[in-house]
Amino acid sequence: MILTKKLSFIVLLSLISYFSLGQKYSVHKKNKSFLGLTGGVNFTLPSITDRYYILTSIETADGELFDKKYDKFFQNGGTQFGIHYSYNFTNSISVIGGFGYQSVGFNYFTDYSWVDTVNNHELNREMHHLQKISYFTVPIMVRWDIVTRGQLVPFVQGGVFMNFRHQAKKSINYDNTIDGEETENDLSSSSIVSISDYTRKFNMGLTGGIGLNYYTKYFTVGLESNFRYGFFKIMNDETRYSDLNGFALQYLDVMDQMRMSNLNVQLSLAVPIDHSISTNILRRKRYNKKR
């Protein structure tokens, strides 16, 4: 395991060294446009603004007794893919607009316990709630290429995004052991139901990130990571208790109100699209110096 990790690190280092030290060209892309594809994974951090409960007791007023326990950042995984268009105003400043599809996931668990002292019976129920919300997403960002002298170009970018909800789904896995984990030999599952009507249709926020592009004559490959912070609340307050899927009373489930932050890591592949396929974005460094 450790050997594999070391080997991977060495291979990665070699590749970076090869690409960065062995660069023969510099990139010239002023007034050029690119069209590309992106795809990758994302991780979600819900920020709870209001907690709601179906099951209530005097203790609930003091909080925490029936609070949902949300999974950690890297356990709330999702995926995204899309297309993007960029236009370079200068050799280092560009504006990027895109259109994509993003599925974000967030999970939590709840647990309840009842003790029947008369019949000597105890019932524990732990429920793991898995939610997935899918959005059509439109990011608009300004990108600054930090170094433009080689083919390997690191950049920072920032801007806004808009999300349009497509669908939202949920399922619940439950067992009778309260341990914070799904107990495999005791696990049952609900059906997968739509929670689209419980979620708001639109969100927007700020996004920013870093990345690395490698330019060739005909295409560009890149790796980037962006953080997104949504301004608006995710859940629809009006439909919270409408119990459209029957989960409210069966699983004592009602969604908290939240805002959502998201970190994505994605690969990109772009081609220059201005005028012709041979856009001459690469020039030999020597030739460049002479001019």
Partner: protein, 395 residues
């Protein structure tokens, strides 16, 4: 080639448009709509809500039976969250529906565990309890109470004479004004005890007064059956719709005025609705002769509640019942007619049983029900529908 400027302008235009239309016009109020289940982690306790009343602070008070005929009070805030609960001492048992309201005070009727006689209890929200308000030694086995603000009517069982009694109290609830009774001719104490202790069939005892104040309508034991009896203003017998022994009769009845009644009747396991029946208070007839529409999906053993509810200025005769698959079913009929204007099912997988419902001060609808949690524990539940949700049902 399309200009990049055009592309980005278009994007910003779309974003601006969405932001403009995305602004919420209505402020969210959590008290408008909710579902709550009131927890008790003691798995040996079973609850059965009986009556629910909105209080002056816009919260709700729920009167329930637990573990048979013991009495439980629960107070919630306006968002349905539990504020306090109180188990009455074991001396007081068998609370009967419904609450009575005098000024801001709430009262209910219950029974003495040993003497079997009747108490009127007053809820004391300050001390979060209930205290004795009045005691009526002569009234044994209270079964139902009705209040029309000017008088209170208590139905009871006279165990020594095999009679169903009806007693009219004054508005202050401290004196008996009238008393009447009908003959059962047989001992039904075992049925009464099964009903009170929740160990057998729960009979739909009922008392109400016609809007004209000329007749008292009482469903209870009479003449070897479960019948609906009309009594005049002196509580003398006037007419009767006899049930089919103890297996048929009226499940619920709401006087609409002018000899019109909204009713539900049962015959063994079948339930029938007629939201606009014409009954004669002086007739001697059988309940099964009343024309009514069969409701095959409904559970005849569960309570049926009928009330007039105004939605956006229009009165609807509203039925709340329990389906055989343990959902709640709301039916809204145009008042005084058989025209069904709206239907709403509540609940899906967790078994629910209808207990009470009422219009709220914010024009919504509050329902008290019994829910069976995890297929095991009977608990008190409330379901609040907002004004908008209510209006959407009858659109």
């Amino acid at each position: 080639m399309t200009s990049p400027k055009f592309f980005f302008r278009l994007l910003f235009l779309v974003a601006f448009g969405l932001l403009s239309t995305g602004c919420k016009k209505k402020e969210y109020k959590p008290e408008e709509s909710f579902i709550k289940v009131y927890n008790d982690d003691d798995g040996s306790r079973n609850y059965f809500p009986l009556s629910m009343q909105q209080t002056s602070d816009e919260g709700y008070l729920i009167l329930s039976a637990y573990n048979g005929w013991n009495i439980h009070l629960l107070k919630t805030d306006k968002e349905g969250d539990m504020l306090w609960e109180y188990d009455l001492p074991s001396k007081y048992i068998n609370a009967v529906p419904t609450f009575m309201k005098r000024n801001t005070g709430l009262y209910f009727v219950c029974m003495d565990a040993v003497g079997l006689h009747t108490y009127v209890m007053q809820v004391d929200e300050t001390s979060r309890s209930a205290v004795e308000f009045q005691e009526f030694q002569q009234l044994k086995y209270p079964l139902y109470v009705a209040d029309n603000s000017s008088a209170v009517y208590i139905q009871n069982y006279e165990r020594s004479s095999y009679k169903t009694g009806i007693t009219k109290l004054n508005a202050a609830m401290d004196q008996i004004e009238e008393f009447g009774s009908v003959n059962i001719f047989t001992d039904v104490e075992d049925k009464i005890v099964d009903h009170l202790s929740y160990t057998g069939k729960r009979f739909p005892f009922h008392v109400s007064v016609t809007p004209e104040n000329d007749y008292v309508v009482m469903s209870g034991f009479n003449n070897y059956s479960f019948s609906t009896v009309f009594l005049d203003s002196d509580l003398d017998f006037s007419g009767v719709y006899n049930g089919a022994a103890f297996d048929g009769g009226l499940n619920s009845i709401l006087p609409l005025g002018g000899n019109k009644f909204a009713l539900a009747r049962f015959s063994f396991s079948n339930l029938y609705y007629n939201p606009s029946a014409t009954l004669s208070p002086t007739a001697i007839d059988i309940a099964e002769s009343i024309q009514a529409e069969g409701k095959a999906e409904l559970d005849a053993e569960s309570p049926v509640l009928i009330k007039n509810i105004a939605i956006e200025g229009t009165e609807y005769t509203t039925y709340l019942a329990t389906t055989k698959s343990n959902q709640l079913l709301l039916n809204f009929y145009q008042k005084g007619s058989n025209v069904l204007k709206g239907t709403k099912y509540l609940g899906q997988s967790a078994p629910l049983k209808a207990c009470d419902f009422a219009k709220t001060t914010d024009e919504g609808l509050m329902i008290a029900a019994r829910v069976t949690l995890m297929s095991s524990f009977n608990r008190i539940a409330t379901i609040k529908l907002s004004k908008e949700e209510l209006a959407a049902i009858v659109e």
